[in-house]
């Protein structure tokens, strides 16, 4: 199976060149060729959403794309969400609202939510729940994720004041 090609992908603002087979999934390329292991594979058939990344700013299942097909795209993974210092407001809201337990599904949720909140800065609970139905979480029962999204929406609307935010999960309380 020696059908290696040189693939060139733009991930989190940086261009990478690696040898890989054309059949290599984007998820596997990110994880095993680039060492970006925050993108998790939960089902590999496009249902659970754990492997969600953004392709040109749109949430997408990295288990349903071949790496070779997205060479002209801008890929964003969970590692690209925040800098080294402060967490991204959505991550901070997840932390404060206890919106993660085992954390395996979390990166996929974050990537789904980041796009959702860009399009819907003031979402209703029903809109949040509909958006979250893209991803499966088996630990949290979703209630705290819903709160975290509402809380993150508030933080993002209040940016740049968000940096000075004293914190606390405010949504729905």
């Amino acid at each position: 199976m020696d059908d290696q090609r040189k693939l060139s992908l733009q991930v989190n603002g940086k261009r990478y060149e690696r040898m890989a087979e054309p059949r290599m999934l984007l998820a596997d390329f990110l994880r095993h060729k680039l060492g970006l292991k925050g993108t998790h594979i939960g089902c590999a058939h496009g249902v659970c959403g754990a492997c969600t990344v953004q392709i040109d700013g749109r949430a997408a299942r990295s288990c349903l794309h071949f790496a070779i097909d997205v060479q002209d795209c801008e890929i964003t993974t969970v590692e690209g969400l925040a800098g080294d210092d402060a967490l991204h407001p959505i991550q901070q809201a997840f932390h404060e609202c206890h919106a993660l337990q085992c954390g395996f599904c979390t990166p996929g949720f974050l990537m789904t939510i980041e796009e959702f909140l860009r399009d819907n800065p003031e979402p209703s609970e029903a809109q949040i729940r509909t958006a979250l139905a893209n991803n499966i979480c088996r630990c949290t029962g979703y209630a705290n994720i819903v709160q975290a999204v509402a809380d993150a929406a508030r933080r993002l609307r209040e940016q740049p004041a968000a940096a000075a935010d004293a914190g606390g999960c405010h949504a729905g309380q």
Binding site: G38, H40, L100, C102, C105, T106, P107, T140, G141
Partner: protein
Amino acid sequence: MQANETGGYIGKRLLRREDEALLRGRGSYVDDLAEPQNLLHLAFVMSPHAHALIKSIDTSAARSLPGVFAVYTGEDLAPLMKPIHTEILFPGYQAADRNALAYGKVRFVGEQVAVVLAEDRYIAQDAIDLIEVEYEVLPAAVDMEEARKPGAPLVHDHIERNIIFEGKFETPEFEREFAAGEHRIRERFRTGRVAGVPMEPRGCLALPEHSDAIVFHTSTQIQHLVREGLAHHLGRSEASIRVVVPDVGGGFGTKAQLYPEEVVAAALCFKLRRPIKWVQDRREELLTNIHARDHLYDLEVSFSSDGVIRGMQLELLTNAGAYSTYPFGCTLETTGGSRMILGPYRIRNYMYRSFSIATHTNPAGVYRGVAQPSCMMAMEGMLDRIGRYLGIDPAEVRRRNVVQASDMPWTTAVGVRFDTGSYQQCLDKALEAIGYDEFRRAQPRDRLVDGKYRGVGICNMTEFTGMGAPAWRSRGLKRMSGIDSAALRVEATGKVTVSISHAAAGQGHLTTFAQIVADYLGANIEDVRIIEGDTAVSPYGTNTFASRSAVTGGGAVIRASTKVADKIRRIAAHVLEASPQDIVVRDGYAHVAGVTDLRLSFREVAEIAYAMCDVSLPEGEDFGLEASEYYDPPVVTVANAAHVVAVTVDARDGRVTIDRHVVVHDCGRVINPMIVDGQIHGGAAQGIGEALMEEMVYDENGQLLNASLLDYLLPTAMDIPNFEISHIETPTIDGLGGFKGVGEGGLIGALPAVVNAVADALSGIGVNVNRVPMRPAYLRSLIRSAAAEGGAR
């Protein structure tokens, strides 16, 4: 255990230490661990038949594929390992051993028959497809009622009528008391086969170490039990196997088993002295990770005209699947369902017969709640039926039967002691929170509005947690210790390292155990670091399942903390020229009571203990500042809760919507309310999933029809409501710390409450809801049949 020294960390909503790495995508699950250069990827060939003889296996094409290192069949590997054997010292139990890699015969779809080792996972998968296995298909026993009939195909030749375990029990006056009840109701309750389905599938990475040992990284909840199981089945010493648990992406009991893939991976690592990695895909996860809850309860109660139960008898069938799983066998659901069904109710006269039936399906194991969701569904469903039969409100039926404060401590008919609890209080508080009385008053009018039936359902439940050694002895589980441990060390800098015999899969142990240590040691919480999930650094333990950790690990941590705090007190007293009783240890300092500036920091005390300063230790005191302690908790620590749920059922399509879900929970002393509520949320969501949609569906040939997440439905954010949770805290008095477990209660309470709410909604049209999952098709067919009957009248 001086309560006056606690620094108030227990009970606080502290945010989790685990979060930041996980949120940044820097978690380290088993598939994320660094891969050595010479790694071999392991993949399994699975049987497509439920019951078949293996006639031949042709591996030649796979072997010649470039990148393939080796292919092995069950016969090849048999000399390396003993069949997986689960010893249970229980009358009526027969072990059904399993070859980690089958040979001769397969007994369920998904059973592993051959393995490939390859340089790359894609190649390993290619090679799997090139292996030709010739089978002779045999008739299969799939349904457990059919399987125990004479003449049914046998799963194991030595197990007659496929009865892998049979249990029975009867209270002394049972027959007379049961006969004395004025009324009787009999009902059959059935729960669908489901599974834990953690978002992270299982996997392991075995690394050779030195010339004769391995380090075994595996996605498990039970590192010590895995080490012991591997050592036993591979004929190695435990000392040659170090089991390390990385971040685990959900467990729920699914990962509280020793699995055949782990035995194979470890065996190959020992044999080849090369790193071996295996990570299952979702299809394997659904086909081969333990299933649970294919249960059938034939329950009969005898009761008086006031609704008070006089006696109860049960015949319980549970589907064991094809083999007894390690370490629990297939008895835990069977004994659990028949013994825990009594719940918080005063049932003094009780008789059961219970059976675990082998079938040609994936083996059953322990999934969150074990049999408690199903047995409480039967119990709580029966209380509703008594109410409907006598025209008494179901809440009132519960009040007349529930164990009262004046009954405490209560011992159940099967001999389990409840030391403290709040059975009536939780129920009343939950009913009030949901506005139960108004709901009932309005119900005759509101029962069917806008094409929707409305109902409310109750579950007042107990949760058996933190089982200690006597509990496991009484259930015959030989390899299950029941104790847990903590090794606590104040380092020379005054910082604190605590290694506990647990392994979290999302429960936040690094945070909650630090809270306990900080309080009982008197440390600053920032200075406390918890380590878990590594057999090389923690003393022996029974690990993390069945809502154990807070109870068993909590007790061990309290003991170790107290012991070290006492030593700190003695050293400080010696330096400060006071009596040890007068030294208060708090927030990282030891000071003389009432004189807070006459103090030593942990660092100063540690420097004395480690001989790093001119001050010598008190006479007779040894070096070091550490303790390693075990804790064997009481037989069972019983938590309780009341769930009250309001639903609407669409009359047209049978879809259920949960409008409100109220929980009043009592897990004794709460360590971290945020984490406790999270446990309840997650459990309740799984209970709702099990009630409304989840089911592993086998056809009559033993094919699993829905081995993908497209077809095995898990609840999404659209299906789960916001939970309204409050707490009553009645600390346990039998165990240290006052903690009761909380891992399973959410699921145990949610499932029966949702079932009863749907049954209540449809009770006006005279249908009988007695099984889960209550999918739209099932409810719609009930509604239509009721309409047809109504039309015919």
